[in-house]
């Protein structure tokens, strides 16, 4: 595959396709599972509009909290809390993954060498693109799995990066569940919509779609699926028995 280079403007074009209200509310309220939250938060890094929107939805959460009826707390609760104020703060038990080296390098980097993967995704990957090991799925399509979620992982969601060769059509497929897609490089067209870096797509099981990567640059996407993709169409029927996608 052709080596990837970021266009000059890549960091500054505003996304056109955003997560819907339901996803943003679920993220702001803390009701979105970790895998889907990773896709939303990585979109936020690329989208000032949605960052502002999430700030407002958090303010809404704060207002709803303020309007909660007051429930009586335990008699000794205040005393227990006051007794803890002078205790040394424990080390954060479960810090977010962060690749310090990648971060330091990134800070020193010239704008043109800005990392392609924004935080929090870069932390989950353990570095920028070079930290990934790609696995060939089919001609022109590679994937790299991203570990995400509790160690005993019961969410069933699958997080991965896909690298699709410029001009390639993905096999036509439907989803048993839903799929979130965030474009990180290149672009693709799905039905009538065009998606570029920062753009976010939500598709559900009613959509039978066939995204086509833009000609030229490879298209790199983060995808979160909560059920395996089911390939449809002739190519899909041919491929289904052979690839576990």
């Amino acid at each position: 595959m052709t080596p990837l280079s970021m266009p000059e403007t890549a960091g500054h074009q505003a996304p056109v396709h955003h997560p819907g209200d339901e996803l943003l509310v679920a993220y702001a309220s803390g009701n979105l599972a970790e895998a889907a939250s990773l896709a939303v938060a990585t979109h936020l890094a690329l989208c000032p509009r949605c960052r502002h929107e999430v700030n407002r939805l958090e303010a809404l959460g704060g207002a709803l909290l303020d309007q909660m009826p007051a429930a009586p707390v335990g008699d000794d609760l205040l005393a227990r809390i006051m007794g803890q104020l002078d205790a040394p703060a424990p080390v954060t038990p479960r810090p977010l993954p962060a690749n310090t080296d990648a971060r330091t390098d990134a800070r020193r980097a010239k704008p043109a060498e800005r990392p392609l993967l924004p935080q929090p995704l870069r932390g989950y990957v353990g570095g920028d693109l070079s930290a990934l090991s790609w696995r060939r799925v089919m001609r022109g399509v590679e994937e790299a799995e991203v570990k995400c979620g509790p160690a005993d992982g019961e969410s069933g969601a699958k997080v991965r990066l896909l690298r699709i060769k410029g001009g390639m059509a993905m096999p036509q497929h439907t989803h048993g569940g839903s799929e979130l897609t965030l474009v990180l490089a290149g672009g693709f067209t799905d039905a009538t919509d065009h998606y570029l870096r920062g753009d976010f797509a939500e598709t559900d099981n009613s959509v039978d779609h066939q995204p086509v990567a833009d000609a030229g640059e490879d298209c790199i996407c983060l995808t979160v699926t909560d059920a395996p993709l089911r390939l449809t169409g002739t190519l899909g029927r041919l491929l289904n028995p052979f690839i576990k996608f």
């Binding site: 009586p72 509790p150 839903s178 979130l180």
Partner: protein
């Protein structure tokens, strides 16, 4: 439409088995306060005007700058009972809720120096701490968040100072707007925030078409945005 799997797994149900079904839970919270007079409830809902917002923000700043224990105790009296309601509505039993409230209030004390009243109201700041704490404790998940210093972050073209100017009035307007929402929209908003389940489940439990749940939420958000002077 986004389906169940992308939402948090119902694993906290396993952690807090004592929790009844969500419907019983929310009814239970209401019943628990049935003895309170309507006036008391109304006063609760009216209490946070811009003077109250300013008071809470100033208390939190005092805790951050001066490690002021009196200010902290005043914050405790405002927030602890509300945090407890919030957690109980999420299905945590009374004892478990007290423990999480304790964690959250201790975090408020420890992190108060990072609070900036120009960026958020105290209530918003406390809400985000409580939210993150319950994701950690109840779901055993991490919360992916942006890094404001990330060189890959696309900067906001709008100066954050411009966004902050009218924060206090915004907070009051937001409170007033929530209070004037049609009851079915306000209830749905609370469910979206305080019940850890996807809308398809909320719809099924309430015997409502999913489309109705989604459109009520959209309507509620549109009214709030309008009240906040946008769109």
């Amino acid at each position: 439409m986004v389906e169940i799997g992308l939402y948090s797994p119902a694993s906290f149900g396993r952690v807090f088995r004592k929790a009844q079904s969500a419907l019983q839970r929310s009814n239970g919270v209401e019943r628990g306060h049935a003895d309170r007079t309507a006036t008391e409830r109304t006063m609760d809902r009216h209490i946070v005007d811009s003077a109250e917002t300013e008071r809470l923000n100033a208390l939190l700043v005092r805790v951050g700058r001066e490690r002021d224990r009196e200010a902290f105790i005043a914050l405790f009296h405002h927030f602890a009972p509300r945090l407890k309601s919030y957690l109980q509505r999420l299905g945590v039993d009374a004892g478990g809720a007290d423990e999480i409230v304790q964690d959250v209030m201790v975090s408020v004390w420890r992190r108060a120096d990072s609070y900036d009243p120009a960026l958020s109201a105290a209530g918003t700041w406390v809400f985000t701490i409580a939210r993150n704490r319950r994701i950690d404790v109840l779901r055993r998940e991490r919360r992916p968040e942006i890094d404001p210093d990330d060189p890959a972050l696309v900067p906001d073209p709008v100066d954050p100072a411009d966004r902050a100017v009218e924060l206090e009035q915004d907070t009051e307007r937001l409170h007033r707007a929530i209070r004037t929402l049609p009851p079915e929209q306000a209830e749905l908003l609370r469910m979206a925030y305080f019940e850890d389940k996807p809308h398809s489940v909320i719809a099924a439990e309430r015997n409502l078409p999913l489309g109705t749940v989604k459109s009520r939420l959209r309507l509620a958000l549109a009214r709030l945005r309008k009240a906040m002077g946008e769109e």
